[in-house]
């Protein structure tokens, strides 16, 4: 086990290196560059800015410099905000995104998984259909519609909650609800699917045949394996949730991580984009490692090679 974890952690380095390299050349290959505007920039200004950020050097030199600095998590200043370092920006917004994503994920797990188990044990009953239809509703109302609806209803009509900003506990409610809706739905559907699959496996039938209590069968035997697809899904999903949601951050004016990537991409803010991508990749790799460990824990027969 320790060997496995060590090996995976060591493997992080080459994987991140590949991601860093591909991303570096990807962003530099995109048309346009930083410092563009609808208004012409004097040639002298452009030259000076490019020189200042080393963008006038050959791409391969820039790449080398980027790699050596990225190794110590130094991405340099953001072009779109030269008074701040990318690292500083990332850490500041990460605090917000982690909190928002954490609550949303918790809510999704606490609601989605039990609903899924409950529905699976009553397959094709009216209750099952109701639960699944509500879940599907959660999937089919996009968050860019759900968020404004919640604002309209709870903030602008009933005046219960603030319409935007990230200022106090009450400002957390609407963004968390908006963000978690789709995950609740996904988790409920996936849990039900996974549970149905395991509930009809031979070993569950054996357990049932042995006359074990149905509740015990469901939770002790079926649940551990039935939850596997959910766990698989959670690896990338968690990374995505804690990295922030573009839509939710936009609707509620939340200073999270999610919009850095999009804004950075549109501004061709190379340093910011590279920082965000590597940050995200790091999380993804770690969460996927946790997922693999969770497999082994849930199903002891799974070998961690």
């Amino acid at each position: 086990m320790t060997g496995f974890i060590t090996r995976r952690l060591l493997l992080l380095i080459p994987t991140l290196w590949i991601i860093a390299t591909l991303t570096f050349f990807l962003v530099h290959a995109a048309p346009g560059g930083p410092f563009q505007s609808e208004r012409d920039i004097p040639a002298a200004a452009k030259e000076a800015l490019y020189k200042k950020y080393g963008l006038d050097r050959p791409l391969i030199v820039q790449y080398g410099r980027f790699l050596t600095h990225a190794a110590v998590l130094d991405f340099g200043p953001s072009y779109a905000n030269p008074a701040k370092d990318v690292r500083e920006i990332l850490f500041e917004s990460a605090k917000v995104s982690f909190e928002l994503g954490g609550w949303a994920l918790l809510l999704a797990l606490l609601l989605g998984v039990p609903i899924g188990v409950w529905a699976a044990t009553r397959q094709n009953s009216a209750g099952d259909f109701t639960a699944m239809s509500v879940a599907l509703l959660g999937v089919s109302i996009p968050n860019f519609v759900l968020g404004p609806l919640l604002v309209l209803w709870l903030s602008l009509t009933l005046f219960w909650l603030p319409p935007a900003l990230w200022t106090g506990p009450s400002s957390r409610v609407l963004p968390v609800l908006t963000l978690s809706a789709i995950y609740i739905a996904y988790l409920a559907r996936l849990t039900r699917g996974g549970m149905l699959e395991t509930l009809r496996q031979d070993y569950v039938r054996t357990a049932r045949a042995k006359g074990l209590d149905e509740r015990r069968v469901v939770f002790r035997h079926a649940f551990r394996l039935g939850i596997l697809p959910v766990v698989s899904y959670l690896g990338p999903a968690t990374a995505r949730v804690v990295m922030g949601s573009v839509v939710v951050e936009q609707i509620f004016a939340i200073p999270g991580l999610g919009r850095h990537l999009v804004n950075g991409a549109f501004n061709r803010d190379y340093t910011l984009v590279l920082g965000v991508v590597l940050f995200y990749a790091g999380f993804l790799l770690i969460f996927n490692l946790l997922v693999d460990l969770a497999y082994a824990w849930l199903d002891p027969r799974v070998e961690l090679a």
């Binding site: 493997l11 994987t15 590949i18 991601i19 591909l22 991303t23 990807l26 962003v27 290959a29 995109a30 048309p31 009553r122 397959q123 094709n124 239809s133 509703l137 999937v139 089919s140 109302i141 996009p142 860019f144 519609v145 404004p148 609806l149 309209l152 739905a185 996904y186 559907r189 996936l190 699917g193 996974g194 149905l196 699959e197 009809r200 496996q201 031979d202 070993y203 596997l228 697809p229 698989s232 899904y233 690896g235 990338p236 999903a237 990537l261 991409a265 549109f266 984009v273 965000v276 991508v277 990749a281 993804l284 790799l285 996927n288 997922v291 199903d299 027969r301 799974v302 070998e303 090679a305």
Partner: protein
């Protein structure tokens, strides 16, 4: 495992036909697809791109069942025409997710060890690359077309699916029926695709149906970047995206595309559930 392989398919079809819900959903989807792809030949349907500046945005009426948008274009026509791209996109992405995602994940999970490690790290890399730039570069190097749209969506739609299937296979391959199959001399290929994959169908079908609305909405983002439908054309995703900006003023602009999307999702979902039950010979609904 009951029944001879040859009758498996017809068995499944028979079981599916008995599932009324699935049949109705299937018929609905076929009818919707016919309506959308046959939109140019639907009698009395307005031109989806012809503006009527004097009319502007108008609520549903006998002349315009779904109302009109701010340029006075008939929303029913726009929803039907828009369904062509959205349905195509949903279908292609689902197929990619099923074909590539399932086999990739199954192979990685079954092989395990180094192969699995490399294959899954490749998935992580694809996950991490900034998608916006991939799309922008696609636009630079290729002319925009429906094919490029599918490529852009297909590029990433199979990733989560492959992880789910791999997770299932990692667990399933340790079970007795795999050992039994191996003892009977079944080839790896046979074990993966005839024994392991069918046992992952539950989550696979669930996830595949959930992909459909997600991908339809993603298409709207690609349109934003310049790939996908271009003005004055529309898709359900772009219609919804436009409509949400004025949903307090002209609610029908969100409601109808939203309903089209929701109805499609519901139909695919129940069809998927039926299909899963039908394909699984062990299926024995526990009942109410």
């Amino acid at each position: 495992m009951s029944g001879r392989p040859t009758s498996l398919w017809s068995d499944a079809m028979r079981r599916l036909r008995r599932n009324r819900m699935a049949v109705i959903c299937g018929i609905f989807l076929v009818a919707l697809a016919v309506l959308c792809f046959g939109a140019p030949w639907v009698p009395g349907l307005a031109d989806p791109t012809a503006p009527n500046f004097d009319l502007g945005a108008s609520p549903p009426s006998s002349a315009h069942w779904f109302g009109t948008d701010p340029l006075g274009r008939d929303l029913l026509a726009r929803v039907l025409y828009g369904g062509r791209v959205s349905l195509a996109v949903g279908l292609v992405a689902t197929l990619v997710s099923l074909l590539i995602g399932v086999s990739y994940g199954a192979i990685a999970g079954f092989r395990g060890g180094k192969t699995d490690e490399i294959m899954m790290r490749a998935v992580d890399v694809l996950y991490s690359l900034p998608y916006i730039f991939l799309v922008i570069l696609l636009l630079v190097f290729f002319s925009k077309s429906l094919l490029m749209l599918f490529v852009a969506l297909g590029l990433v739609q199979w990733l989560t699916m492959s992880r789910i299937v791999r997770g299932q296979v990692l667990s399933l391959k340790q079970q007795t029926f795999v050992e039994a199959a191996r003892a009977l001399g079944a080839s790896d290929w046979r074990i993966v695709f005839l024994h392991l994959v069918p046992n992952t169908l539950g989550p696979v079908i669930v996830y595949a149906t959930l992909t459909i609305p997600a991908v339809m909405l993603q298409e709207a983002f690609l349109s934003f970047l310049g790939l996908g439908v271009q003005p004055p054309g529309a898709s359900w995703g772009t219609l919804l995206d436009d409509g949400r900006k004025m949903m307090t003023l002209f609610p029908w602009l969100v409601i109808f595309p939203g309903l089209a999307l929701a109805a499609t999702l519901f139909a695919f979902n129940f069809l998927g559930d039926g299909l899963r039950d039908a394909l699984d010979p062990q299926s024995r609904p526990t009942g109410a």
